[in-house]
């Protein structure tokens, strides 16, 4: 039974981690354009290192 002392906090902790990740992704606006995200995978973008791209490339 003593194993529960570790397992229950561990399972709750993992659950909380998942919850926190979801809340973060929600706040970061990842659900604002679901159709666009599905479509954009078809776009071939130039593969340039991030440092070489022009500034201001992120608009959320």
């Amino acid at each position: 039974m003593s194993v529960l002392i570790y397992l229950i906090p561990a399972s709750l902790g993992l659950g909380l981690l998942g919850l926190a990740t979801f809340l973060w992704s929600l706040k970061a606006g990842q659900y604002e354009d679901m159709d666009g995200a599905a479509a954009r995978i078809l776009l071939d973008e130039e593969d340039v290192p991030a440092s070489a791209k022009s500034d201001g490339a992120s608009l959320r």
């Binding site: 039974m1 529960l4 229950i8 399972s11 709750l12 659950g15 909380l16 998942g18 919850l19 979801f22 809340l23 929600l26 659900y31 604002e32 354009d33 679901m34 159709d35 666009g36 479509a39 954009r40 078809l42 776009l43 022009s54 500034d55 201001g56 490339a57 992120s58 608009l59 959320r60």
Partner: protein
């Protein structure tokens, strides 16, 4: 906009100084952008015709190539583009998009806030989901026979998880229940709130006394399922609402006003006074009711009065707000402020019509009005019954709580929004936007359909007649000349002959109210009214109602135009009649035009020369006969009728007032959207009824067990999940057959690129 003629080679033209609609658009862009960093601004544009990955690429790459633009990002879901730019003037964003083939409009930044309600619902949903999965893990080990000591620990942990969730996620229901109670009535949230609170308190009490049963899992799962229903309902409403809001605006935001000292300023329309001198360039809408002081032009009043032919106007003419100035700049004197203009008049008529319409109560509300008191009574009765029978208050309360929990309307809460979300998605794929679920419910009840004529049954713009019988050399010349004009007939010529050979015209000039004139070598070509273009009187009479092309006053070709039926109009109307609906046409156009069209589409009931108030009166009369009317209309003059009807539908190129009044908006050109929407509404109504039947059956089976005291937390959890899953699965059946039709559906969406045949300015 001057970019229209970019593809035609022309000599030097000499546009009048006032003809700079682009400047006004850029002023408006500046007004509606917001500063995100020093020197950098962000504009949001609504582009209703974005629909695929190709559009994303074209638009983003096209905009990034404009000088001053730092970044552009398309949101496909909301059909909007955010553009980051720098500089003291807005870059030519709208013009660029127009060249790329997309109509775009500045998005009102002021009314735009991030959807706070949705974010709150999603957060509450996430928290409830986390809690219910973790409590369920603990509960499963309790059910599978944990010993008494471990069970107590698990119950305590469950209680610790459930309490914050009850406060955080349950708040949404508590607040709604409280506001309903305060106004003296009850809604579905009242039994939910009482149920979850009582169940939590009882379980906590049992946990303290090391009891065997706790309902923490049931409480949290209930919250989770109910929040899913709530969130879906909200998502569906907001999504289409924002798509509708983003379409073209009819009312001008501002206008160029000439002050007494001769200076000009771009002022918001609210600041225009009676007597102000307003300058309206070609391609702009008339901002307020006004009289023409100087200039002449043609006015497109199709959206305002329903008349299909453009009207020539000159000094002294009275103009109504909302009409479109087509060909020449006008100097106007305002005769009314914006509050007293025709447009606002329509809005007032509309509000009156809306107030007169019997309020429709949504089906879920009607059900919950019956449901909530029933649940309360049953629960209270079982408490009393067990008190009398056993005299054990703890036992009696446990059973009363079990009754509350088991009857709590999980499945009921999911049954309507789930069907409506699926239906809205189906309609969206077919290019039909549904503004709220209530519209879909009302759509299923209709027995009569009333159509407007101009712009609804017809396309509302002229098309060249007898295209193939015309001399193509002459058509080349005519199309090249027509490219310099905004007159609908010129547009139709260009559309009919997009591959015109470039012609090196010089001194091209538009004579407002008459036509276009240009020189080619020594010859003078004119395209326009016969009386102006032709020298010979006899010939003028011969082609009196046509548009002619002449060379040095001699007739080269005469063109006639018709306002064609929308694609599928006749078939759609037949389809509706076959489904047993009565059809009627109410139009503001003249008798002969309406009669001819009514005969062509096979509708026997029609009325012509209807003013907006007449249309509303007719709809009220129909409603008094007990008929449920679907009104399909596009014009400003239809807006009050749209508001008065039981349910209403408008094409996307309708006046925005009308579009806001309509419950459904269709993006494609085809009128087959009407029978399609009706069919989906009918099927949804059937599925909603089935879902209600399913959830009531579930209640009818589970309730006796609960009242007799056989319900354990395990039983409650299983029953609750099963009923919800059945309801959701049933709603999904609406999608059957949808995949097969998808190619067709995407065709409808791509047609919609031509939805706005005329620019807003």
């Amino acid at each position: 906009m001057s970019c229209c003629s970019a593809s035609v080679m022309v000599g030097p033209t000499d546009p009048p100084a006032d003809d700079q609609p682009g400047a006004a658009v850029q002023d408006e862009l500046w007004l509606e952008s917001r500063e995100i960093a020093p020197g950098q601004r962000l504009s949001e544009l609504s582009v209703p015709t974005i629909h695929c990955v190709g559009c994303i690429r074209t638009i983003e790459e096209g905009l990034k190539a404009v000088p001053g633009v730092l970044d552009a990002r398309v949101n496909l879901t909301a059909k909007r583009v955010s553009v980051q730019w720098e500089g003291s003037r807005a870059p030519a964003l709208i013009e660029t998009l127009k060249d790329l083939g997309y109509a775009a409009h500045p998005w009102q930044a002021a009314g735009e806030k991030k959807d706070e309600v949705l974010a709150r619902l999603l957060r509450a949903l996430a928290v409830a989901g986390f809690a219910s999965s973790n409590i369920m893990l603990l509960s499963v080990s309790v059910w599978s026979g944990a010993d008494a000591q471990a069970r107590d620990i698990f119950h305590w942990i469950s209680a610790l998880i459930a309490l914050p969730v009850l406060i955080y996620s349950g708040r949404i229901f508590y607040l709604s229940a409280w506001s309903a109670l305060r106004r003296g009535h009850t809604n579905m949230d009242v039994p939910i709130s009482i149920g979850i609170s009582l169940a939590f308190c009882l379980s906590l009490y049992d946990t303290m006394r090391s009891g065997p049963h706790a309902y923490f899992d049931g409480v949290v799962m209930l919250l989770f399922f109910l929040l899913i229903g709530r969130t879906l309902d909200h998502v569906m409403r907001e999504r289409t609402r924002s798509a509708v809001k983003g379409l073209a605006r009819l009312a001008s935001k501002g206008a160029l006003v000439e002050k007494e000292d001769g200076t000009r300023a771009y002022l918001p329309v609210e600041e225009i006074q009676v007597g102000s001198r307003v300058i309206v360039a070609a391609g702009e809408r008339i901002p307020v009711d006004a009289r023409v002081l100087a200039g002449s032009s043609d006015l497109d009043a199709a959206l305002v009065t329903g008349e299909s032919d453009p009207q020539p106007v000159g000094p002294g003419a009275q103009l109504q707000a909302g009409t479109l100035n087509l060909t020449g700049p006008l100097t106007l004197e305002a005769t009314a402020t914006v509050q007293n203009s025709f447009l606002s008049e329509m809005v007032r008529l509309m509000e009156a019509a809306e107030a007169g319409r019997s309020t429709y109560r949504r089906i879920a509300d009607r059900v919950s009005r019956l449901f909530a008191p029933t649940v309360h009574t049953l629960s209270f009765l079982s408490f009393l019954g067990w008190m009398v029978a056993t005299g054990d208050p703890h036992r009696a309360i446990t059973i009363a709580v079990a009754v509350l929990i088991i009857t709590c309307p999980c499945a009921l809460g999911l049954s309507v929004p789930m069907v409506q979300v699926v239906a809205a998605r189906r309609l969206f794929d077919r290019g039909i936007l549904l503004k709220d679920g209530g519209g879909l419910e009302r759509m299923a009840e209709i027995d009569t359909v009333v159509f407007d004529k101009t712009g609804t049954l017809t396309l509302g713009r002229p098309v060249l007649q007898n295209r193939n019988g015309l001399d193509s050399d002459h058509l080349d010349l005519a199309a090249a000349l027509a490219a310099h004009s905004r007159h609908p007939h010129s547009r139709a010529l260009v559309d009919a002959h997009p591959t015109a050979r470039p012609t090196a015209f010089i001194e091209v000039a538009e004579r407002p109210g008459f036509g276009v004139e240009a020189r080619l070598g020594e010859d003078v070509y004119r395209l326009g009214l016969p009386a102006w273009a032709l020298a010979d009187q006899a010939q003028q009479r011969e082609v009196a109602n046509k548009t002619v092309l002449s060379k040095n006053g001699k007739l080269l070709a005469a063109y006639s135009f018709i306002d064609p039926l929308r694609p599928e109009a006749a078939a759609a109307l037949r389809d509706l009649q076959r489904k047993g609906l009565k059809l009627e046409i109410l139009s503001g156009d003249h008798q002969a035009a309406v009669e001819a069209l009514a005969r062509k589409v096979g509708v026997s009931a029609w009325q012509a020369r209807m003013r907006p108030a007449d249309k509303t009166a007719r709809l009220t009369a129909l409603a008094e006969q007990g008929r449920k009317v679907l009104m399909v209309g596009d014009g400003l003059n239809d807006a009050p009728a749209l508001a008065a009807a039981h349910v209403s539908m408008a094409p996307a190129n309708a006046a925005d007032v009308g579009r806001n009044a309509a419950d459904l908006v269709f993006l494609g050109e085809g009128l087959d959207a009407v029978p399609e929407a009706f069919a989906v509404a009918k099927r949804s109504a059937r599925l909603v009824r089935q879902n209600f039947a399913l959830s009531f059956t579930y209640n009818a089976i589970a309730l006796p067990f609960a009242i007799l005291g056989f319900v354990t937390p395990l039983f409650a959890s299983v029953a609750m999940s099963c009923s919800s899953i059945v309801v959701v699965a049933n709603a999904m059946r609406l999608n059957r057959g949808a995949r097969r039709r998808n190619p067709e559906a995407s065709g409808t969406m791509s047609n919609s690129i031509r939805v706005n045949p005329e620019p807003v300015r």
